[in-house]
Symmetry: C2
Subunit: 223 residues, 2 copies
Protein backbone atom coordinates (compact mmCIF):
# COMPACT_ATOMS: atom_id res chain seq x y z
CA UNK A 1 0.00 0.00 0.00
CA UNK A 2 1.31 3.43 -0.91
CA UNK A 3 0.38 6.40 1.25
CA UNK A 4 0.47 10.05 0.22
CA UNK A 5 0.70 12.79 2.84
CA UNK A 6 -2.61 14.64 3.20
CA UNK A 7 -1.20 17.30 5.57
CA UNK A 8 1.89 18.48 7.44
CA UNK A 9 2.28 19.21 11.12
CA UNK A 10 3.53 22.58 12.33
CA UNK A 11 5.11 22.62 15.77
CA UNK A 12 6.78 25.43 17.72
CA UNK A 13 10.14 23.58 17.71
CA UNK A 14 13.09 24.32 15.45
CA UNK A 15 14.22 20.71 15.40
CA UNK A 16 13.49 17.39 17.10
CA UNK A 17 14.89 18.54 20.45
CA UNK A 18 12.17 19.02 23.07
CA UNK A 19 9.34 17.09 21.42
CA UNK A 20 7.34 15.20 24.07
CA UNK A 21 7.80 11.42 24.04
CA UNK A 22 4.06 10.75 23.77
CA UNK A 23 0.97 12.79 23.01
CA UNK A 24 -0.76 14.37 25.99
CA UNK A 25 2.38 14.64 28.15
CA UNK A 26 2.44 18.41 27.52
CA UNK A 27 -1.28 19.14 27.21
CA UNK A 28 -0.91 22.88 26.54
CA UNK A 29 1.56 22.50 23.65
CA UNK A 30 0.07 24.05 20.52
CA UNK A 31 0.37 22.70 16.99
CA UNK A 32 -1.29 23.07 13.59
CA UNK A 33 -2.32 20.56 10.96
CA UNK A 34 -2.12 22.19 7.53
CA UNK A 35 -3.65 20.21 4.69
CA UNK A 36 -2.31 19.77 1.18
CA UNK A 37 -4.18 21.98 -1.34
CA UNK A 38 -6.37 19.16 -2.72
CA UNK A 39 -7.79 18.37 0.74
CA UNK A 40 -8.61 21.97 1.65
CA UNK A 41 -12.36 21.49 1.23
CA UNK A 42 -14.39 22.59 4.21
CA UNK A 43 -17.04 19.83 3.62
CA UNK A 44 -14.34 17.21 4.33
CA UNK A 45 -14.26 18.47 7.95
CA UNK A 46 -18.02 18.87 8.46
CA UNK A 47 -18.97 17.53 11.90
CA UNK A 48 -15.37 17.27 13.13
CA UNK A 49 -15.73 20.37 15.32
CA UNK A 50 -17.91 18.38 17.76
CA UNK A 51 -15.07 16.02 18.74
CA UNK A 52 -12.75 16.80 21.69
CA UNK A 53 -9.91 14.63 20.38
CA UNK A 54 -8.68 13.41 17.03
CA UNK A 55 -6.25 10.71 15.96
CA UNK A 56 -3.29 11.60 13.83
CA UNK A 57 -1.62 8.85 11.79
CA UNK A 58 1.78 10.15 10.77
CA UNK A 59 5.17 9.17 9.41
CA UNK A 60 8.34 8.76 11.47
CA UNK A 61 10.23 10.35 8.62
CA UNK A 62 13.15 11.62 10.70
CA UNK A 63 13.83 8.30 12.36
CA UNK A 64 13.79 6.01 9.40
CA UNK A 65 16.38 3.28 9.18
CA UNK A 66 17.50 1.91 5.84
CA UNK A 67 14.43 0.71 3.99
CA UNK A 68 13.45 -2.85 4.76
CA UNK A 69 15.67 -3.24 7.81
CA UNK A 70 14.14 -3.85 11.21
CA UNK A 71 15.24 -5.10 14.60
CA UNK A 72 13.14 -7.42 16.73
CA UNK A 73 13.95 -5.54 19.95
CA UNK A 74 14.45 -1.91 20.99
CA UNK A 75 15.73 -0.22 24.16
CA UNK A 76 12.99 2.15 25.33
CA UNK A 77 14.30 5.46 26.76
CA UNK A 78 11.89 4.93 29.63
CA UNK A 79 13.92 1.95 30.75
CA UNK A 80 17.12 4.01 30.73
CA UNK A 81 18.47 2.12 27.75
CA UNK A 82 19.37 -0.83 29.96
CA UNK A 83 16.62 -3.23 29.01
CA UNK A 84 15.18 -4.21 25.68
CA UNK A 85 11.59 -5.02 24.76
CA UNK A 86 10.07 -6.45 21.61
CA UNK A 87 9.49 -3.81 18.96
CA UNK A 88 5.74 -4.62 18.90
CA UNK A 89 5.58 -4.08 22.69
CA UNK A 90 6.80 -0.48 22.26
CA UNK A 91 5.81 2.70 20.42
CA UNK A 92 9.37 3.08 19.10
CA UNK A 93 9.75 4.81 15.71
CA UNK A 94 12.07 2.01 14.56
CA UNK A 95 9.41 -0.44 13.42
CA UNK A 96 8.71 -2.36 10.20
CA UNK A 97 6.15 0.20 8.95
CA UNK A 98 7.13 3.57 10.48
CA UNK A 99 3.64 4.92 11.25
CA UNK A 100 3.06 7.00 14.38
CA UNK A 101 -0.28 7.19 16.22
CA UNK A 102 -1.22 10.13 18.46
CA UNK A 103 -4.42 11.41 20.01
CA UNK A 104 -4.49 15.20 20.35
CA UNK A 105 -7.02 17.69 21.63
CA UNK A 106 -8.84 19.53 18.83
CA UNK A 107 -9.19 23.19 19.73
CA UNK A 108 -10.46 24.87 16.62
CA UNK A 109 -10.86 24.47 12.87
CA UNK A 110 -10.27 27.37 10.52
CA UNK A 111 -12.88 26.79 7.82
CA UNK A 112 -11.14 28.92 5.19
CA UNK A 113 -7.68 27.38 5.29
CA UNK A 114 -8.92 24.03 6.71
CA UNK A 115 -6.21 24.27 9.35
CA UNK A 116 -6.77 22.22 12.52
CA UNK A 117 -5.47 23.80 15.72
CA UNK A 118 -4.54 21.16 18.27
CA UNK A 119 -2.86 20.74 21.66
CA UNK A 120 -0.70 18.07 23.22
CA UNK A 121 0.94 16.55 20.13
CA UNK A 122 4.28 14.75 20.04
CA UNK A 123 5.04 15.48 16.38
CA UNK A 124 8.08 17.30 14.98
CA UNK A 125 7.68 20.35 12.78
CA UNK A 126 7.06 19.29 9.17
CA UNK A 127 5.93 15.74 10.00
CA UNK A 128 3.87 14.20 7.16
CA UNK A 129 0.33 13.20 8.15
CA UNK A 130 -1.50 10.37 6.41
CA UNK A 131 -4.88 10.31 8.14
CA UNK A 132 -7.06 12.17 10.63
CA UNK A 133 -9.86 10.30 12.41
CA UNK A 134 -12.34 11.37 15.07
CA UNK A 135 -11.66 9.96 18.56
CA UNK A 136 -14.58 7.73 19.60
CA UNK A 137 -14.52 7.08 23.35
CA UNK A 138 -16.87 4.09 23.11
CA UNK A 139 -14.38 2.13 21.02
CA UNK A 140 -11.02 3.86 21.68
CA UNK A 141 -11.00 4.52 25.45
CA UNK A 142 -9.85 1.77 27.82
CA UNK A 143 -8.80 3.80 30.87
CA UNK A 144 -8.10 0.76 33.05
CA UNK A 145 -6.10 -1.21 30.49
CA UNK A 146 -2.94 -2.78 31.91
CA UNK A 147 0.13 -1.23 30.30
CA UNK A 148 2.66 -4.06 30.69
CA UNK A 149 6.23 -2.96 31.31
CA UNK A 150 5.23 0.74 31.11
CA UNK A 151 3.13 0.42 34.30
CA UNK A 152 6.15 -0.25 36.51
CA UNK A 153 8.40 2.57 35.35
CA UNK A 154 6.83 6.00 35.71
CA UNK A 155 8.75 8.86 34.12
CA UNK A 156 10.75 10.69 36.75
CA UNK A 157 10.29 14.36 35.93
CA UNK A 158 13.02 16.94 36.39
CA UNK A 159 12.62 19.85 38.76
CA UNK A 160 12.81 23.00 36.63
CA UNK A 161 14.46 26.18 37.93
CA UNK A 162 13.21 28.97 35.65
CA UNK A 163 14.59 32.29 36.94
CA UNK A 164 12.03 35.08 36.86
CA UNK A 165 14.29 37.41 34.81
CA UNK A 166 14.42 34.79 32.03
CA UNK A 167 10.83 33.65 32.37
CA UNK A 168 9.37 37.14 31.90
CA UNK A 169 11.00 37.40 28.44
CA UNK A 170 8.41 34.88 27.14
CA UNK A 171 4.64 35.24 26.90
CA UNK A 172 3.19 33.61 30.05
CA UNK A 173 1.50 30.73 28.18
CA UNK A 174 4.69 29.85 26.29
CA UNK A 175 6.69 29.98 29.52
CA UNK A 176 4.29 27.58 31.23
CA UNK A 177 4.36 25.17 28.29
CA UNK A 178 8.15 25.36 28.09
CA UNK A 179 8.40 24.51 31.77
CA UNK A 180 6.32 21.35 31.17
CA UNK A 181 8.51 20.39 28.21
CA UNK A 182 11.71 20.84 30.21
CA UNK A 183 10.32 18.83 33.14
CA UNK A 184 9.99 15.87 30.74
CA UNK A 185 13.78 15.88 30.28
CA UNK A 186 14.43 16.73 26.64
CA UNK A 187 18.07 15.59 26.70
CA UNK A 188 19.19 12.91 24.32
CA UNK A 189 18.98 9.59 26.13
CA UNK A 190 21.50 8.55 28.72
CA UNK A 191 23.44 11.83 28.81
CA UNK A 192 24.36 13.24 32.20
CA UNK A 193 26.95 16.03 32.11
CA UNK A 194 26.08 18.81 34.58
CA UNK A 195 28.42 21.30 32.83
CA UNK A 196 26.97 20.87 29.35
CA UNK A 197 24.82 23.74 28.04
CA UNK A 198 21.91 22.49 25.95
CA UNK A 199 20.18 24.66 23.36
CA UNK A 200 16.64 24.21 22.11
CA UNK A 201 14.49 26.42 19.91
CA UNK A 202 10.89 26.86 21.03
CA UNK A 203 8.19 29.31 19.93
CA UNK A 204 10.73 31.60 18.27
CA UNK A 205 13.14 31.62 21.21
CA UNK A 206 16.52 29.97 21.61
CA UNK A 207 16.44 28.44 25.08
CA UNK A 208 19.62 27.45 26.92
CA UNK A 209 19.72 25.22 30.00
CA UNK A 210 21.87 22.91 32.11
CA UNK A 211 20.85 19.72 33.88
CA UNK A 212 22.30 18.41 37.12
CA UNK A 213 19.84 15.58 37.68
CA UNK A 214 17.20 15.92 39.09
CA UNK A 215 17.37 19.70 38.57
CA UNK A 216 17.19 21.54 35.24
CA UNK A 217 18.14 25.23 35.27
CA UNK A 218 17.14 27.60 32.47
CA UNK A 219 20.05 29.93 31.64
CA UNK A 220 18.70 32.18 28.90
CA UNK A 221 15.98 32.77 26.33
CA UNK A 222 16.79 34.80 23.21
CA UNK A 223 14.59 35.81 20.29
Amino acid sequence: MTLEPIARFHAPFGENFGIPRQSGLVESLRGEIRFEPRYRQSEAFRGLEGFDYIWILWGFDRNRRESGSWHATVRPPRLGGNRSEGVFATRSPYRPNPIGLSSVRLERIDPDSCTLYVRGADLADGTPIYDIKPYLAYTDAHPDAAGGWTDSCAWSELQVVFPEEVRRLLPEEDAATLQRILAQDPRPHYQNDPDKVYGMSFAGYEIKFRVDTPTLTVISAEK
Copy 2:
Protein backbone atom coordinates in the same frame (compact mmCIF):
# COMPACT_ATOMS: atom_id res chain seq x y z
CA MET B 1 5.48 5.95 2.01
CA THR B 2 5.08 2.33 1.02
CA LEU B 3 3.75 -0.15 3.56
CA GLU B 4 4.20 -3.91 3.49
CA PRO B 5 1.80 -6.18 5.37
CA ILE B 6 3.45 -7.67 8.47
CA ALA B 7 0.52 -9.96 9.29
CA ARG B 8 -2.98 -11.08 8.26
CA PHE B 9 -6.13 -11.21 10.33
CA HIS B 10 -8.13 -14.41 10.68
CA ALA B 11 -11.78 -13.99 11.59
CA PRO B 12 -14.57 -16.55 11.97
CA PHE B 13 -16.54 -15.02 9.08
CA GLY B 14 -16.69 -16.38 5.56
CA GLU B 15 -17.08 -12.94 4.02
CA ASN B 16 -17.65 -9.31 5.05
CA PHE B 17 -21.21 -10.00 6.22
CA GLY B 18 -21.55 -9.77 10.01
CA ILE B 19 -18.33 -7.92 10.84
CA PRO B 20 -18.97 -5.46 13.69
CA ARG B 21 -18.93 -1.80 12.67
CA GLN B 22 -16.29 -0.86 15.25
CA SER B 23 -13.93 -2.73 17.52
CA GLY B 24 -15.28 -3.63 20.97
CA LEU B 25 -18.94 -3.81 19.90
CA VAL B 26 -18.81 -7.61 20.12
CA GLU B 27 -16.28 -8.09 22.92
CA SER B 28 -16.31 -11.88 22.88
CA LEU B 29 -15.59 -12.21 19.14
CA ARG B 30 -12.36 -14.15 18.63
CA GLY B 31 -9.73 -13.47 16.01
CA GLU B 32 -6.09 -14.26 15.26
CA ILE B 33 -3.21 -12.16 14.02
CA ARG B 34 -0.82 -14.36 12.05
CA PHE B 35 2.51 -12.81 11.15
CA GLU B 36 4.40 -13.08 7.90
CA PRO B 37 7.34 -15.52 8.17
CA ARG B 38 10.05 -12.82 8.51
CA TYR B 39 8.33 -11.33 11.59
CA ARG B 40 7.86 -14.63 13.41
CA GLN B 41 10.58 -13.93 15.96
CA SER B 42 9.46 -14.33 19.55
CA GLU B 43 11.81 -11.50 20.74
CA ALA B 44 9.77 -9.03 18.64
CA PHE B 45 6.82 -9.65 21.01
CA ARG B 46 8.78 -9.66 24.30
CA GLY B 47 6.85 -7.66 26.90
CA LEU B 48 3.64 -7.50 24.84
CA GLU B 49 1.91 -10.14 26.99
CA GLY B 50 1.57 -7.58 29.82
CA PHE B 51 -0.78 -5.33 27.84
CA ASP B 52 -4.56 -5.79 27.99
CA TYR B 53 -5.18 -4.11 24.63
CA ILE B 54 -3.26 -3.58 21.42
CA TRP B 55 -3.76 -1.30 18.43
CA ILE B 56 -4.07 -2.80 14.98
CA LEU B 57 -3.31 -0.58 11.97
CA TRP B 58 -4.79 -2.29 8.96
CA GLY B 59 -5.79 -1.86 5.35
CA PHE B 60 -9.36 -1.35 4.08
CA ASP B 61 -8.48 -3.58 1.16
CA ARG B 62 -12.05 -4.70 0.41
CA ASN B 63 -13.48 -1.22 0.32
CA ARG B 64 -10.96 0.51 -1.85
CA ARG B 65 -12.19 2.94 -4.45
CA GLU B 66 -10.18 3.60 -7.58
CA SER B 67 -6.73 4.71 -6.55
CA GLY B 68 -6.43 8.43 -5.94
CA SER B 69 -10.16 9.14 -5.87
CA TRP B 70 -11.77 10.46 -2.71
CA HIS B 71 -14.98 12.18 -1.69
CA ALA B 72 -15.12 15.01 0.83
CA THR B 73 -18.27 13.66 2.50
CA VAL B 74 -19.69 10.24 3.38
CA ARG B 75 -23.07 9.01 4.62
CA PRO B 76 -22.44 7.10 7.86
CA PRO B 77 -24.62 3.98 8.28
CA ARG B 78 -25.26 5.20 11.82
CA LEU B 79 -27.19 8.14 10.43
CA GLY B 80 -29.35 5.84 8.31
CA GLY B 81 -27.76 7.07 5.10
CA ASN B 82 -29.79 10.27 5.28
CA ARG B 83 -27.13 12.71 6.39
CA SER B 84 -23.57 13.22 5.29
CA GLU B 85 -20.54 14.16 7.36
CA GLY B 86 -17.01 15.16 6.36
CA VAL B 87 -14.82 12.15 5.64
CA PHE B 88 -12.35 13.25 8.34
CA ALA B 89 -15.21 13.39 10.88
CA THR B 90 -15.94 9.67 10.31
CA ARG B 91 -14.16 6.31 10.49
CA SER B 92 -15.41 5.44 6.99
CA PRO B 93 -13.20 3.11 4.92
CA TYR B 94 -13.54 5.46 1.96
CA ARG B 95 -10.77 7.91 2.87
CA PRO B 96 -7.70 9.30 1.11
CA ASN B 97 -5.33 6.77 2.75
CA PRO B 98 -7.40 3.66 3.53
CA ILE B 99 -5.90 2.75 6.92
CA GLY B 100 -8.11 1.32 9.65
CA LEU B 101 -7.43 1.70 13.37
CA SER B 102 -8.82 -0.72 15.97
CA SER B 103 -8.10 -1.46 19.61
CA VAL B 104 -8.62 -5.11 20.53
CA ARG B 105 -8.22 -7.13 23.68
CA LEU B 106 -5.07 -9.27 23.69
CA GLU B 107 -5.85 -12.68 25.14
CA ARG B 108 -2.76 -14.76 24.52
CA ILE B 109 0.38 -14.98 22.44
CA ASP B 110 1.59 -18.28 21.05
CA PRO B 111 5.37 -17.96 21.32
CA ASP B 112 6.13 -20.64 18.73
CA SER B 113 4.00 -19.40 15.85
CA CYS B 114 3.97 -15.76 17.09
CA THR B 115 0.19 -15.77 16.67
CA LEU B 116 -1.72 -13.17 18.68
CA TYR B 117 -5.15 -14.28 19.93
CA VAL B 118 -7.48 -11.31 20.31
CA ARG B 119 -11.13 -10.47 21.02
CA GLY B 120 -13.46 -7.74 19.86
CA ALA B 121 -11.99 -6.93 16.44
CA ASP B 122 -13.88 -5.45 13.50
CA LEU B 123 -11.61 -6.85 10.78
CA ALA B 124 -12.60 -9.12 7.92
CA ASP B 125 -10.90 -12.47 7.38
CA GLY B 126 -7.64 -11.98 5.49
CA THR B 127 -7.26 -8.27 6.23
CA PRO B 128 -3.65 -7.08 5.82
CA ILE B 129 -2.10 -5.65 8.99
CA TYR B 130 0.64 -3.02 8.85
CA ASP B 131 1.43 -2.37 12.50
CA ILE B 132 0.73 -3.59 16.03
CA LYS B 133 1.28 -1.22 18.95
CA PRO B 134 0.71 -1.62 22.70
CA TYR B 135 -2.28 0.32 24.08
CA LEU B 136 -1.07 2.91 26.58
CA ALA B 137 -3.94 4.20 28.71
CA TYR B 138 -2.03 7.30 29.87
CA THR B 139 -1.82 8.64 26.33
CA ASP B 140 -4.59 6.78 24.45
CA ALA B 141 -7.57 6.78 26.85
CA HIS B 142 -9.90 9.79 26.94
CA PRO B 143 -13.08 8.22 28.34
CA ASP B 144 -14.96 11.52 28.61
CA ALA B 145 -14.08 12.87 25.16
CA ALA B 146 -17.05 14.39 23.33
CA GLY B 147 -17.86 12.35 20.24
CA GLY B 148 -19.54 14.97 18.06
CA TRP B 149 -22.36 13.70 15.87
CA THR B 150 -21.88 10.13 17.16
CA ASP B 151 -22.99 11.14 20.68
CA SER B 152 -26.53 11.91 19.58
CA CYS B 153 -27.28 8.75 17.63
CA ALA B 154 -26.83 5.58 19.65
CA TRP B 155 -27.08 2.35 17.68
CA SER B 156 -30.49 0.84 18.08
CA GLU B 157 -29.90 -2.87 18.56
CA LEU B 158 -32.19 -5.54 17.18
CA GLN B 159 -34.01 -7.95 19.43
CA VAL B 160 -32.76 -11.43 18.53
CA VAL B 161 -35.06 -14.45 18.61
CA PHE B 162 -32.74 -17.48 18.67
CA PRO B 163 -34.88 -20.64 18.97
CA GLU B 164 -33.41 -23.18 21.38
CA GLU B 165 -33.46 -26.01 18.78
CA VAL B 166 -31.18 -23.93 16.52
CA ARG B 167 -29.07 -22.47 19.31
CA ARG B 168 -28.08 -25.83 20.73
CA LEU B 169 -26.46 -26.81 17.40
CA LEU B 170 -23.62 -24.35 18.15
CA PRO B 171 -21.08 -24.43 20.99
CA GLU B 172 -22.45 -22.17 23.74
CA GLU B 173 -19.72 -19.53 23.39
CA ASP B 174 -20.20 -19.27 19.63
CA ALA B 175 -23.97 -18.99 20.09
CA ALA B 176 -23.58 -16.13 22.58
CA THR B 177 -21.15 -14.28 20.30
CA LEU B 178 -23.40 -14.83 17.29
CA GLN B 179 -26.33 -13.37 19.20
CA ARG B 180 -24.29 -10.20 19.90
CA ILE B 181 -23.32 -9.95 16.22
CA LEU B 182 -26.93 -10.32 15.06
CA ALA B 183 -28.14 -7.72 17.59
CA GLN B 184 -25.83 -5.20 15.84
CA ASP B 185 -27.88 -5.61 12.64
CA PRO B 186 -25.55 -7.13 10.05
CA ARG B 187 -27.82 -6.29 7.10
CA PRO B 188 -26.45 -4.17 4.30
CA HIS B 189 -27.45 -0.57 5.00
CA TYR B 190 -30.96 0.68 4.46
CA GLN B 191 -32.51 -2.69 3.62
CA ASN B 192 -35.82 -3.57 5.21
CA ASP B 193 -37.60 -6.53 3.67
CA PRO B 194 -39.21 -8.77 6.33
CA ASP B 195 -39.53 -11.70 3.89
CA LYS B 196 -35.91 -11.76 2.78
CA VAL B 197 -33.78 -14.61 4.14
CA TYR B 198 -30.22 -13.52 4.88
CA GLY B 199 -27.30 -15.95 5.01
CA MET B 200 -24.07 -15.44 6.90
CA SER B 201 -21.20 -17.80 7.57
CA PHE B 202 -19.83 -17.75 11.08
CA ALA B 203 -17.49 -20.11 12.94
CA GLY B 204 -17.98 -22.86 10.37
CA TYR B 205 -21.78 -22.59 10.30
CA GLU B 206 -24.08 -21.18 7.66
CA ILE B 207 -26.59 -19.08 9.58
CA LYS B 208 -29.95 -18.04 8.09
CA PHE B 209 -32.18 -15.31 9.52
CA ARG B 210 -35.00 -12.89 8.76
CA VAL B 211 -35.45 -9.35 10.07
CA ASP B 212 -38.74 -7.63 10.73
CA THR B 213 -37.40 -4.54 12.46
CA PRO B 214 -36.83 -4.41 15.43
CA THR B 215 -36.85 -8.24 15.63
CA LEU B 216 -34.33 -10.61 14.05
CA THR B 217 -35.25 -14.29 13.97
CA VAL B 218 -32.66 -17.01 13.44
CA ILE B 219 -34.04 -19.69 11.10
CA SER B 220 -31.25 -22.25 10.84
CA ALA B 221 -27.60 -23.06 11.46
CA GLU B 222 -25.86 -25.66 9.28
CA LYS B 223 -22.32 -26.98 9.36
